[in-house]
Amino acid sequence: MERKRSGRRYYNKRKKTWTQQCKDYLRQFIAFLFSNIGIICLVVGYTIAGAFMFIFIEGAPGNAIAVIDRVGANRSGTADRIWDMVCCNAYCEDEWKREVQVHLRSFQSHVIEAVRNFSYEGPNKQMTRWSFSGSFLYSLSVITTIGYGNVTPRTLLGKLATILYAIVGMPLFLLYLSNIGDILAKSFKWIYAKCCLCRNCKKRRKRMLAIQRKEQWKMDMRDFKLNTGVLTEGEESDDEGTTDGSSSLSFNDTQEVTVPISLCLTIMVGYISGGAILFSKWESWEFFDGSYFCFISLSTIGFGDFVPGNSITGSGTSIGTGTYTGIGTGPGNRTSAGTVIELSFILCSMYLMLGMALIAMCFNLMQQDVVMKIRTCTDIVRRIGRCKN
């Protein structure tokens, strides 16, 4: 009686599952879509919110302009002092040069201090530091823990905000990564299975055959057990387990294919070199520098020695030639350069978000492959061990 009841219950459960399966799948699909699209939106929205917040906190240009003014004042002061020297004793070359060296040295130390403590980047650079795209990249670099450090908060409030922002943002980004990485891995595996089906045909068939054989053997075993009267209870659950197992086998069939590590590595290398080409075009870096930047960024090391949008100061020679033409042409240059920098910031952000998800995917796939290989290895070892005895 007990057995019957349990059997019916199982039956009921199964029936329910079958009738609601369609609805269930739909709901699951919606949940799936929501959770993934949602997490992308969430991360992007969080980053944009962070960008506005940091603009609000740090964006006050007073500080940067003050630094620039100070350096400019020091520059003209040095020039004045040199003029004084010219007036007084401009006749002994060695002595004059020594004097000028002293002034230059003091000027140099002033500049260095400005660069180090106030991240002074030249007189034309103050506009891009906490622009929208600049702070967007900053927020992204915080939550991805890349931390370029080209733009850093200077005020106490900014630092505090950064800490709180990171505490919330990093788990969020981790969620994004694991979610998107999972989806990418699944879809990539599906594509891989579909594309390489012909190549894998033999292997797969062999595996299926082995599974079938095992199942057959299991059935035999169970029959035997039933005959010997050992198996009285749990029969239903057995049956269910078997059927469900086989159904999930077909469900998991495409997911069962492991993508070889070499392919994952190729994808990663391809993505990095693609990024290198892109950045070398946009930022006029060399190809190698571009790939170095991509690697350092995607591995979240983030030295910050190459940062997109720095090309204007970066090429010191162009400024050097342009200096004598005067500062009057500044604003026009600045706006065009500004748009370029904005664009490259946005591009870099997109590249990073996609790239990190892709890397997560590759790690996911590689992990599966490695686990699979280790498993077969242990299987083999165990089999050998058993044969010996």
Binding site: S109, V115, G147, A166, G234, D238, T313, R375
Partner: protein, 622 residues
């Protein structure tokens, strides 16, 4: 035939046990000693390599600054000489322009050529210590960027160094974090909660002896520590074993499951306490879902995949159970555990105690409803337990005081738990080894006896949940709830350690606030230290510690940068900072390890309450 199976079963066991121990020793050695040594050696190697590659370039850059300044001087001298009439406005404008160019060159040298602002070639960034610091910064992915390779060779070397070093470091850190988590958990529960656990234990033993005489629910509920269990303690021996097995299958959600078992236990107590009319229904209901998460039990539709997995477990357990069970019979012909209940026809209340015997008596008295119910429960609720306990019996001859609950329970009725109960809390080591060994035996046995059971397991293994590098720079070392227990010991050595901590009866979750407090106090401590060492403001140094430990690494504050002139002091500071950040990241890994399951389950519960996640799709929410 039964003897035959037994023979087949036994021989690989010995072999695999041997292999297993060899592997265990090897991994222990490899992971805990070799790994750290490797990381240290790798850092030293990197230090040598980067020093060789970069220091020449640095000296060159430093010399180039002097040349640059000389050029400015010469230019100015020439200008002064060549201009026939010296007007102040004209002169200063031109000199300012020249100075501006000089300034740009300086900035370029700082930003791009990695000049540190010093001209003295004796004070270098790329000394051995500096390069060592750089290597650590690279492989922990902090990346301050205060020194970065500037030569092509240096950049290439950095890329390859990072490719090898980052995984190595991750491995090492997660390993160290694991060890630290274990020792911390142990410390916390042994030292901090010693008094409360001892009191608990006394209460337990008292209650146990009482509950053997009569089963009442009245004194259930006094032991509501982290587990919120309210049930008769005498049942806990069996039930905790069930819970343990459940944790094998789905180790991450033990909290909720505890609550569930709690419920089960209570009903069980009622049942044992003379309400057999009610109990059968409930049992048959609960046993059906007993290896699903409790919340899932109420959901009308169960996701097909999870259903298959659960039933896969059940299936597996059944298969194995029967396989082992038959094996067990002949091997112990003295068979106390067989004959005892069989002959004595122990009343049903006492049968509660003999959890394993239910198998025997089920066969012998299949009509006894009570026993059947127990069987159902045993089958479905304890898939892995079923695999373990009999094998444990097999090895230990069934009556040694092994930590397996059921084995102990199975002993004849002279209050068998009393041997066991005085030490229920800190048996983890012993039990761990036992479990893994018994699992090991299962591995050997399943090939012959329960080969069919392997299939369900294998399918579950197909989709290991995706773990990636966390932003904190170490691998999120989650236990995969559905990983096959058959293989886990072979390639994942952290797992057996994880298991014993996840027993609901012995899950000793270190509270989240404690871990947070630990990290915060570490940061504050570091802030004070750096404040005194570097003369930073307190908020600045706290900010520095945070940015460093989260591996963001802006590089706006870097230790030992402003005071390069002080030789030895700098070196000491760099060493100290390296130690601080390595230990800090390990500490973060540890606290992450400690709280992650709890946090995830909490978040999930909240999400479920809010309706963001439905009960079924747990995978999506991870």
């Amino acid at each position: 035939m039964l003897m035959d199976v037994d023979f087949d079963d036994d021989t690989p066991n010995r072999c695999t046990t041997l292999v297993y121990y060899a592997w265990k020793i090897f991994t222990c050695l490899f992971l805990h000693v070799l790994l750290v040594t490797m990381v240290v050696l790798y850092c030293l190697l990197g230090a040598f390599a980067f020093e060789r590659l970069e220091s020449a370039n640095e000296i060159e850059v430093k010399n180039s600054i002097r040349v640059m300044r000389m050029n400015v001087t010469t230019d100015l001298w020439k200008y002064t000489k060549n201009s026939l009439v010296l007007q102040q406005d004209n002169f200063t404008t031109n000199v300012t322009a020249r100075l501006q160019k000089f300034e740009d060159d300086l900035i370029y040298a700082i930003k791009r050529k990695g000049w540190d602002g010093e001209e003295d070639t004796k004070i270098q960034q790329w000394t051995f210590t500096g390069a060592l610091f750089y290597s650590i910064i690279v492989i922990t992915t902090i990346g301050y960027g205060h020194i970065a390779p500037k030569t092509l060779n240096g950049k290439i070397a950095t890329i390859f160094y990072a490719i090898v070093g980052i995984p190595l470091m991750l491995l090492c850190l997660s390993n160290i974090g694991d060890i630290m988590a274990h020792s911390f958990r142990f410390l916390y529960w042994k030292v901090c909660c010693y008094t409360c656990t001892r009191r608990q234990r006394r209460v337990q033993s008292l209650r146990r002896s009482r509950s053997q005489r009569s089963t009442t629910r009245s004194h259930g509920g006094s032991r509501t520590t982290s587990l919120k269990r309210t049930g008769r303690i005498s049942q806990r021996s069996a039930d905790s074993a069930l819970g343990m097995s459940d944790c094998y299958t789905r180790s991450s959600y033990s909290d909720t499951e505890c609550r569930y078992y709690d419920k089960m236990e209570r009903e069980y107590a009622m049942f044992g306490g003379g309400m057999p009319v009610k109990a059968p229904n409930r049992y048959s209901q609960q046993s059906r879902y007993s290896d699903t998460v409790p919340l899932r039990r109420h959901s009308p539709a169960i996701k097909p995949r999870s259903t298959s997995q659960n039933s896969g477990h059940r299936n597996n357990a059944n298969h194995y159970y029967h396989g082992r069970y038959r094996v067990q019979d002949p091997s112990y012909s003295d068979g106390d555990q067989l004959d005892g209940p069989e002959l004595q026809q122990v009343p049903s209340i006492l049968f509660n105690k003999y959890a394993l015997d239910r198998e025997e008596s089920r066969r012998i008295h299949p009509k006894q409803g009570h026993e059947i119910r127990r069987n159902i429960r045993g089958h479905s609720a304890a898939p892995n337990l079923a695999t373990e306990t009999p094998s444990g019996t097999l090895r230990t001859n069934g009556r040694s005081k092994t930590p397996q609950h059921l084995v102990v329970d199975m002993l004849p009725m002279d209050h068998p738990d009393q041997d066991y109960y005085p030490k229920p809390k800190f048996r983890s080591r012993h039990r761990n080894s036992n479990q893994s060994r018994s699992r090991e035996e299962f591995l050997g046995g399943s090939g012959c006896g329960g080969g069919g059971g392997g299939k369900g397991k294998r399918l579950e293994v197909m989709a290991p949940s995706p773990r990636i590098m966390s932003p904190l720079g170490f691998a999120v070392n989650r236990q995969y709830p559905r990983r096959s227990t058959r293989y886990s010991d072979y390639y994942d050595d952290t797992e057996p350690c994880e298991f014993d901590d996840n027993n609901p009866d012995h899950i000793k979750p270190v509270p989240i606030w404690l871990c947070v407090l630990l990290v915060v106090s570490y940061i504050i401590m570091g802030a004070f230290l750096f404040k005194s060492w570097e003369n930073w403001e307190f908020p600045d140094s706290a900010y520095f510690c945070f940015i460093t430990l989260t591996t963001i690494g802006f590089g706006d504050f870097v230790p030992a940068q402003r005071v390069m002139n002080k030789g030895d002091d700098t070196k000491l500071r760099i060493w100290f900072c390296s130690l601080y950040l390595l230990f800090g990241i390990a500490l973060l890994a540890m606290s992450f390890n400690l709280v992650q399951e709890e946090v995830i389950s909490n978040v999930k519960t909240v999400a479920r309450h809010l309706g963001i996640i439905k009960d079924e799709d747990e995978e999506e929410s991870e």
